[in-house]
Assembly symmetry: C2
Homo-oligomer: 502 residues x 2
Amino acid sequence: MQAKATAVTAQTEGCSAPQLGGSDPLYRQVMEVVAQSISSGALRPGDRLPSLRKMSSSTGVSIPTVQQAYVELERHRRVESRPRSGFFVRHVAELPLVRAAPRGSRGPARYRSVPLVQRVYEAIDRADLVPLGIANPTMARPATKALGRCMRRVMSRQGERTINYPPTLGEPVLKRQLAFYLLDSVGAQIDPDSICITNGAQEALALALQAVACTGDVVAVESPTYHGMLELIDSLGMYALEIETCPEDGISLRALERALAGRKVKVCLFATTLNNPLGVSMPQANRAQMLELLARHQTTLIEDDVYGELRFDGQRAVPSQFLRSGRTPSTHPGPDVLTCGSFSKTVAPGYRVGWVISARHRDAIARLKRSHSCGSPALPQLTLADMLASGDYARHLIQLRLALGQNAALMTSQVEAHFPAGTRISKPRGGGVLWVELPEGLDSEDLFERAIDAGVSIAPGGIFSPGKRYSNFVRLGFGHVWDEATDRALLWLGGEVSRLAA
Amino acid sequence: MQAKATAVTAQTEGCSAPQLGGSDPLYRQVMEVVAQSISSGALRPGDRLPSLRKMSSSTGVSIPTVQQAYVELERHRRVESRPRSGFFVRHVAELPLVRAAPRGSRGPARYRSVPLVQRVYEAIDRADLVPLGIANPTMARPATKALGRCMRRVMSRQGERTINYPPTLGEPVLKRQLAFYLLDSVGAQIDPDSICITNGAQEALALALQAVACTGDVVAVESPTYHGMLELIDSLGMYALEIETCPEDGISLRALERALAGRKVKVCLFATTLNNPLGVSMPQANRAQMLELLARHQTTLIEDDVYGELRFDGQRAVPSQFLRSGRTPSTHPGPDVLTCGSFSKTVAPGYRVGWVISARHRDAIARLKRSHSCGSPALPQLTLADMLASGDYARHLIQLRLALGQNAALMTSQVEAHFPAGTRISKPRGGGVLWVELPEGLDSEDLFERAIDAGVSIAPGGIFSPGKRYSNFVRLGFGHVWDEATDRALLWLGGEVSRLAA
């Protein structure tokens, strides 16, 4: 075995690399050096990659390992080999950005995709399918070891506590750690008593919605938006009203203003940071205007902040509830905002630990939590509190964001390489999904069924809208360890779409 | 230290004892020998206990240990010492059985006790109060070691699985084990696919109720019944209709028939085995008649079976859904029955693992589970599956029932000893609570507040009825390790009630 290069810098023609030395295999680190040089423009389409020998000597990595990296890059269609000439950066047509929903509101609607959502979940549950149908970023870098370590500490110190009834609103130590973490990372001043720990963000959304709205009420949502929100709204007998959402800067303020003026919107259920499936975040100025609008119309905002931690650049947006009025000069008092989040997109979806934060609705939420599930299990809560306190959580997030950024680049380049002209894609700045607009006329529900037969799960676009818009869109998740099966799945998908579009 | 008596039989005047040799301290085993002789009538009020020397020689336990047992029995007011004569079984007036609710329906009602329930939960959460306010049988014999063993096995074999999203309807291995356990213990034939694993029985009830009823519907409940059901019904915008329930044989069939005939009852939410707070189970014949009635009126039954395992005699009633038609000759097809249960009353409330069983409503329940909490954590489920498979669960239940039976006898005898004439009590055949009717005119909400000041939590009777009946009842939980603090709490309560009644 060769010695591990712990701090070598590659400096060859066009390739100025960061230090090698992560825990990844060396060939993957070399791949990353090249990929970053392509992303930064240091290496451009048509450029020749450094020779195997040069790359080997500049990185201190053996020639066979460099070759393995180059072959792998070729498999990912980032480079191409030319006989007796070496490896060259591929010319790939950059796909245009997906388009927003067609203009014009269609009015509040019930959700008509429930049977299809059921089939999507069945596909997601199948271990034999390549899981592109799920938004599950944590699997790009599972924190198995850190979680195990924290759990063992909890079990040895307070095993007995994990057996008895937990406090209805959550373990106090987790709520303190969470408040401290949000203070530390975004300067949010949060009273731990205003936090209710829930069974993942899904229960947080359910409790928040039931605390502020009733059967028959109208809930404004982004278009497109997460199907779990739409199913929830529907199961509570409420109506979803789609607000046009732009792939560049999120919710259209004009569309929102029209909706608020035109009819009684009881509550807005928005993910202003890294919306699922668009991966877009609202610029700060837009967010401030949105909050003004909501305050003026006395409309409550439930903010789904589950992707808040997952910007590839590590910048964390302040949840709207905790934006200081000093930063957003306003003539109105702020609107009523409830913040929902979870650990499901950052570290452990299987722990089912989420939260809803609202001092104003605390009692209503407590009552709902008590009568609908009576408190969440203690052990996952205590384990995550330990992970926050030990710093393991913050360290894990750095690694996870890196892995997701790499996966996003890989998926983008492969879609660009394999999908036909007429395809458009989102440019996610974080999160774990790519939103793909297929050539017009294609039916993504049909593609979903074909994909299952081919061993791949995808999420058809229709489920992201109550009105079954987006029938020619698909959402592809990149939150898993990238492997050959992923390559093959994208190759197959691109080929199938090309065939159907021809 | 004295040698442990592993298989000694006490046979002295009036005292024919089971074998000593459990894991309890020896003095407690001697106490149990005496207590059982009193319960069986072998020792009667006024009888003299065997002398210390005789008891010592017949049990093989040292004289100081026997003395410790006798002094402890005196502290529990089972026996009294007479100077220079020895210990004698006390004369205690047996208290009469609690009475049923006043006759006459008051019609469907909203639940008015929510603020009081909130205060009761706050009291329960306080570690500094003696916890008589909670129904928490497992703490009478915590299965800490067995659970830890099972969890370690799960973590070493499938730790990674516990991190990722669990299947929406629950871990297949737990559902298989549960189906097998119920087949083995009561002969119920259950398709594992008809089981949905939930966040405790509370979520099971919530999903079941939402699957079969809507806002505004009328739900029939036993009177008195568990406050968590009433709060749930209310939070869903439904109305509770109280059905008279007798402390000897449960739901009054006449009252039920009247209710079903008179108005549209959408669903019945009953605990036919060991109702909380009465501790009563419906005789099999009554249950068959009830099912006939429900089938005739096409009324759905949601059966809360959380106490099903906890009859002191170990006899397990078959949940109504699985009664074979062969056993209950019927001219109608059976009614629609959903069965809810959990591990919260038998082994680990902190794990929050419950279930709802219904093939007919499976899809509706799946949809609700998906949109309201998206699946329950994997680790608690896998741990309990292991506990079922290893036989640890069945072994634990035997010990738990024993401990609860002892606690029930202790609490009964102490209430009989300390509470004034005019008090009436339930005769629980299992479970973890005693239902106490205080002398008329007493206000148990007032007593609840006084008790908190004295360091004791109790559950005031008013919360067990939407109509605030039972204002002079209290529910006392005996599901904890019995200690001096419990003795003192009951002594204080009896004194306070006597004072208020005077």
